[in-house]
Subunit: 315 residues, 2 copies
């Protein structure tokens, strides 16, 4: 297998692109793909202050690394969900990347701030772990932006994550989410911060290859609570479709983007207020997070620990 | 396992409905489902003259039988694609049902009319067999309605057929088909005849059970050209989703119906003309069928053989 660009020995075949690339050209290809995604979909403005949500996994750490390499400065944010050794190891990986990039990051420790880890909280508020985790993460991410002066949340959702979520939303026609799965959610859409997903068109397999080839040290294990999650099941089915017809996932998402752009689907613009408790945007007097936590008597002392790498470059 | 209606011995479990039914109650359930579908979605008017496309398979033969039982008179139409023994055996099954129901049917013999079977035609016109077959069937069905005074084509597409087609259209966002996959296509939408699918909400498994329990003699084998077809692959994936979450296929289609109703998606109404060759509606001077057949020099002598069962009831 030869590299389509230089003719050297290819290390990865990209059937969706009918291509194969060597190490150097694959790294360029992937970084270029992220850059072109940012430019084409106008994800980042000159004045934006970026905060990237890092989990310690291949996607978010690689994205942090790529953004930095491309000249988009981003600080990090790690949410320690209190899942024992898994969370500790993840934090180690984030610290290592922070040191390497010389960019600081914030940590939110769920155990310290709310007296419990994610498993206990989800049981208490009677939600699945994934649902509770999603709600808390969204809240915390927006809060840290508000408190620390950022305006853009960057996440490492990749092609497979997005295709799997879209598949689930289409199977059940979940209209409250269905047309919001684009690459960017603007501030004016009721979200405190702009949210962008620069890896929207990069597959899981490509991201894993990139991380390995660049020597990025990430946590290999999936979150222990994700076992049996529907999203993994959808991913598996989508991978079978992809094997059968390479490029399917990419076409599925690109077709979707084109469709929502054409349709210009009317957004439910609701008048926004601010939570009387925490100042978070909400449609009622209290935000969803405060309401649920109050209902089940869970304390919440939202503090962020700041980690500053040695030799940090201050701007 | 007990019947949810009468408490007797159940013969089938219906996980999508969280139910199990005995033979008698399952037959009632399925027939009632077809009846309610026809009524709720206003598929049939008093003045409609129905022609059902029968292939010899479980779906179309059972539907013909059910329509008759429910008092909706329908004559049949069989297209003999010239697939050797498979087509001959299918025709036998159709004759048997015609005799049982005492309803006549028309046969179109591809070999006689066009000098070739479907395999040779598809090769000649450079299409896949399924694509050529679909195009010819659509044309022939509309033609027989036009020539013989019917205004509604009834087809036996079931829940699995429709869910699988929808899945394929969504994966590739095929907008030319995507929003036309409802239960009924009206005449004014550029189709010569109204087309209805009363089995839209009945699964393949339910239809097979119904046919067996009612002693309907149908052809078991799939069309030999369908092997490896994407639709079968999508069906298999949808069945895995269904196993994982019973009711998924039903929700997928019902959500879709609700969505297209709400969206009222603008149809591409194009000015219709009539083919200068055969009178078939078209957007250009010649219809697609005539154009393709002329281009590849395939003769077409559209004649329909009429089969009248013994003891036929004339209306």
């Amino acid at each position: 297998m030869k590299c389509k660009v230089c003719g050297g020995k290819a290390v990865i075949s990209l059937r969706a692109y009918n291509s194969a690339l060597c190490e150097k050209d694959f790294i360029s290809f992937l970084e270029n793909r992220v850059f072109k995604t940012i430019k084409k979909y106008k994800l980042i403005n000159d004045k934006d202050k970026l905060l990237i949500a890092v989990s310690g996994g291949k996607d978010s750490l690689s994205l942090w690394y790529i953004l930095n390499k491309l000249g988009f400065n981003a600080d990090g944010m790690y949410i320690d969900l209190g899942i024992g050794g898994y969370s500790d190891l993840s934090l180690e990986k984030v610290k290592k990347m922070s040191d390497m990039l010389k960019r600081p990051f914030y940590t939110f420790h769920l155990n310290d701030a709310m007296g419990k880890g994610i498993e206990a909280i989800s049981k208490k508020i009677k939600r699945t772990t994934c649902s509770a985790c999603g709600m808390i993460k969204r809240y915390i991410m927006n809060r840290v932006c508000l408190d620390k002066g950022y305006n853009v949340i960057v996440t490492g959702h990749n092609l497979d994550d997005e295709a799997s979520a879209l598949m689930g939303n289409l199977l059940y026609w979940k209209e409250e989410y269905l047309w919001k799965k684009g690459m960017m959610l603007n501030e004016e859409e009721g979200h405190l911060s702009k949210k962008i997903k620069p890896l929207f068109l990069c597959s899981e397999r490509e991201m894993a290859a990139y991380a390995v080839l660049c020597g990025i040290d990430y946590i290999y294990d999936e979150c222990p609570f994700s076992i049996g999650a529907k999203s993994l099941f959808y991913k598996e089915l989508l991978n079978r479709l992809e094997d059968n017809s390479p490029g399917t996932k990419l076409q599925f998402l690109k077709g979707y983007l084109k469709f929502i752009r054409q349709m210009n689907i009317e957004k439910n613009r609701r008048e926004m207020k601010y939570c009387i408790n925490c100042g978070y945007p909400t449609v009622s007097d209290k935000c969803n997070f405060c309401r649920i936590m109050e209902k089940y008597g869970i304390e919440r002392n939202i503090i962020f620990e700041e980690y500053r790498p040695t030799y940090e470059v201050f701007e």
